[in-house]
């Protein structure tokens, strides 16, 4: 046990994976000598050599496409995309090759790639450095999509992702890189019963009045919100999704059946974001348990705005609590406004026949 940062926990997880399996190679821009712009791969090239940690030319499609070739050859490439906004040049290789090759070849070619993407805003960066593109990948059959929310799970989940025989898009909440926590570095993710499977959600705070579903950087915000709500006498159950695709719908279902209310918060734009899928899935499975329509608290349907505006775009504690008020039918930002459509949402009379 030791107090280490989220970034260092990832670094240690990568180190374990490389020690365990000589076929694990890391690839990316600036990940070698520099250790990556976020220093996630710090020291790994020095310790494992230039043949295990490769600084690549500046081309994301090239990085992912050559990683595919390495996988054909029996390697387990771990690719770093420098920032969320730079994954799009690799989109074709990810969507048309990485995701589909196992299916295309009826299982003869495995694609155990891990694609690491620092994602999300809140660090005051220029354009393209703060995006939340996870929904694109969650919609892509053949991929798995996960996101750890704390140092301990950063350490274990990166190892699980690398060990997984399927391609995993691994979203790292970059604004949590400097968060520090005690991390059990001795745990063996594959055998330790305390380590959750990669595909499972986790109740990070139990509660009874409403279920709040979040992932990545938003988990801490949600926990803060739940703590604030508790002071006001509201009991919020916070679920850290962890696996964005597939969803652990059983866990969501179990919680919402108890609370009857669902709020989802994410940084990505609302339309077609993960919140839509979660709301639709939970509604399908828990319709008769729902007291109110699921509420989404999300980034707006806009390109990521300039740094000076980002706090308006990103859901924060206040906006999440406003969403909780909405799902609980309490006074909220949209109540009492005549003619506002939100008035008709959930809290009103039951019009059922």
């Amino acid at each position: 046990m030791s107090g280490i940062t989220f970034a260092k926990a990832l670094n240690e997880g990568l180190r374990r994976a490389m020690e365990r399996d000589p076929k694990v190679v890391l690839m990316g821009e600036d990940i070698g000598r520099l250790g990556g712009v976020f220093r996630i791969t710090d020291g790994l090239q020095k310790d494992f050599g230039e043949h295990r940690v490769l600084d690549t030319p500046l081309a994301e499609s090239g990085i992912v496409g050559t990683a595919v070739g390495l996988a054909y050859r029996g390697y387990r490439p771990v690719v770093e995309i420098q920032f969320d906004g730079f994954v799009y040049p690799a989109f074709d290789q990810i969507v048309a090759q990485v995701a589909k090759l196992h299916y295309r070849t009826r299982g003869r070619v495995v694609m155990p790639l891990t694609i690491r993407i620092p994602f999300g805003g809140g660090i005051g960066s220029p354009e393209h450095h703060s995006e939340a593109p996870e929904a694109y990948f969650a919609h892509t059959a053949g991929l798995r999509v996960v996101s750890p929310s704390n140092p301990q799970e950063a350490f274990t989940m990166i190892q699980q992702a690398i060990a997984c025989p399927d391609p995993v898009v691994f979203f790292e909440p970059k604004r949590r890189y400097h968060d520090t926590a005690e991390v059990d570095l001795d745990t063996e993710p594959a055998t330790d019963p305390r380590v959750l499977p990669m595909g499972s959600a986790r109740v990070v705070r139990p509660g009874t009045d409403a279920t709040l579903v979040v992932y990545g950087a938003m988990v801490k915000t949600a926990l803060d919100a739940a703590a604030a709500a508790a002071d006001e006498g509201t009991s919020i159950e916070v679920i850290d999704l962890r696996s964005l695709a597939p969803l652990d719908s059983a866990a969501l279902e179990a919680s919402v059946r108890r609370t009857g209310r669902l709020v989802i918060a994410h940084e990505a734009p609302r339309t077609g974001g993960l919140g839509a899928e979660i709301a639709a899935t939970v509604t399908e499975r828990c319709f008769d348990y729902l007291e109110h329509a699921p509420v989404r608290v999300t980034g707006f349907d806009i390109p990521y705005p300039p740094a000076k505006s980002e706090r308006h775009h990103q859901p924060d504690l206040d906006r999440i609590l406003d969403g909780v008020d909405r799902v609980l039918g309490r006074p909220n930002s949209l109540s009492g406004v005549p003619g506002n459509v939100a008035e008709a949402q959930g809290g009103g009379d039951d019009h059922r026949a």
Binding site: G69, R73, D166
Partner: protein, 416 residues
């Protein structure tokens, strides 16, 4: 280095290509290439010619099968036999190939059952043979994507300390794709032992090669620091020699190499294409006179081989493969309905398991009267008996979902 003011040579011309056997069968000397085929005697040349004759026949057979509805679509290799056979016969079995979708001849040299090639085009599967068994990736339809895989695989062989080579096939059109250029960047950067083999067949569907480039494609590689060569792609011997030479360089640790095989797509882009809409018939005639098979035949005849006997021998070899293909293609099994869900993931996946279960339940409704699977006509057994509701597949194809190949036979009015 200073500004070039000269007009570069046209990218489609074949004046400056390396050649060993010319269009009329004349053997020309090439100090660059000759040493690499000194072992190729007449018997070996007959074998190369036989390979070409067989794959030409497979190709024609597949085109015919497409017309008969046994295959949904077919991309002919007609005219490109020499480029494919010559290069593929230069490979070792531990070399690895990343092809595009037209490399029937390469697959043949690799020992792939030609039925496996048809499996994809019949619509019965997304790919045929096992890449790991034959050291050859399955057909790549996304233009250029496979060249990056080749660069990566080659990097892997280098990391492994192996002297196996990787070769990737792609067309003239593909050279415009970012991926192909990035593949050259990565291969050069990592000094990966990969051979880029470009079949410049002069056309990308309806677009002549001059839409893609105003300079010879081989020169592209030089710009990336990759040595390259233009070879007569209709000369099987030159292709063999150039590929052997390039592979030798690649294996020796000198990094990637590039071959532009100047050839010609004598047929349509695919069976769905109509080249008369965009192509001057005179151009086809010009290239017919450069036929890759005829020239080897002429050469062998000039060496004393009996033309009748030679042709008969080729015919026999081709007949045999063609007959088997015709016989067996109908037996290529259709996928069962629940095969949809197989192999999406290597590990269990909760959401997909649920979809599979639910679809099985859905299909089970129709089970009273028939098993779903190959013979299921489940449209006929829906609860209401209402035809409009169930019997007819409302979207065009016949109602039998697992039946013969109706879907694959559609869509042929369009080129793709």
């Amino acid at each position: 280095m200073s500004l070039l003011d000269s007009t570069p040579p046209a990218p489609g011309s074949d004046d400056d290509v390396l050649r060993l056997i010319g269009p009329t069968g004349e053997r020309t000397a090439s100090p660059d290439l000759d040493p690499w085929v000194s072992d190729v005697d007449d018997a070996a040349l007959v074998r190369l010619l036989t390979d070409m004759a067989v794959v030409r026949r497979v190709d024609l057979e597949a085109t015919a099968l497409q017309r008969q509805g046994q295959v949904g679509l077919w991309p002919p290799l007609l005219g490109q036999e020499a480029a494919q056979i010559g290069s593929a016969r230069a490979l070792r079995t531990d070399d690895f190939i990343f092809p595009s979708y037209r490399e029937t001849g390469v697959a043949y040299c690799r020992g792939v059952d030609m039925l496996e090639v048809l499996r994809l085009w019949r619509g019965a599967a997304l790919s045929g043979w096992d890449p790991m068994e034959f050291g050859m990736g399955t057909a790549q339809i996304v233009i250029g994507a496979q060249t990056l895989h080749a660069a990566g695989y080659a990097l892997g062989t280098r990391l492994d300390g192996s002297d196996a080579a990787t070769i990737t096939y792609f067309g003239d059109g593909a050279t415009s794709q970012g991926d192909v250029n990035e593949a050259m960047v990565f291969a050069a950067s990592f000094q990966a032992p990969v051979l880029f083999f470009c079949q410049n067949n002069h056309w990308a569907i309806s677009e002549p090669v001059r839409v893609q480039a105003h300079a010879p494609l081989a020169g592209r590689a030089a710009g990336f620091g990759i040595p390259s060569v233009r070879v007569d792609g209709n000369d099987v011997l030159a292709c063999l020699a150039a590929t052997r030479r390039a592979l030798d360089r690649v294996r020796s640790g000198s990094g990637p190499a590039f071959i532009e095989a100047v050839t010609y797509r004598m047929g349509p882009h695919t069976t769905a294409d109509d080249p008369t809409r965009y192509r001057d018939p005179n151009e086809l005639d010009l290239w017919k006179a450069r036929d890759p098979l005829a020239r080897v035949e002429a050469y062998l005849v000039s060496r004393g081989h009996d033309p009748e006997e030679l042709r008969a021998q080729l015919q026999r070899a081709a007949d045999e493969v063609a007959a088997r293909l015709r016989r067996e293609v109908v037996r290529l099994p259709d996928p069962g309905p629940l095969d949809l869900f197989e192999h999406v993931y290597a590990a269990p996946h909760e959401q997909l398991e649920r979809e599979r279960r639910e679809y099985a339940l859905y299909l089970a409704q129709f089970e009273d009267q028939a098993q779903f699977g190959d013979q299921a006509q489940f449209g006929d057994q829906a609860r209401t008996g209402d035809d409009a509701r169930t019997g007819k597949n409302p979207d065009g194809g016949p109602g039998a979902p697992g039946g013969a190949a109706p879907s694959a036979a559609h869509g042929t009015e369009v080129a793709r």
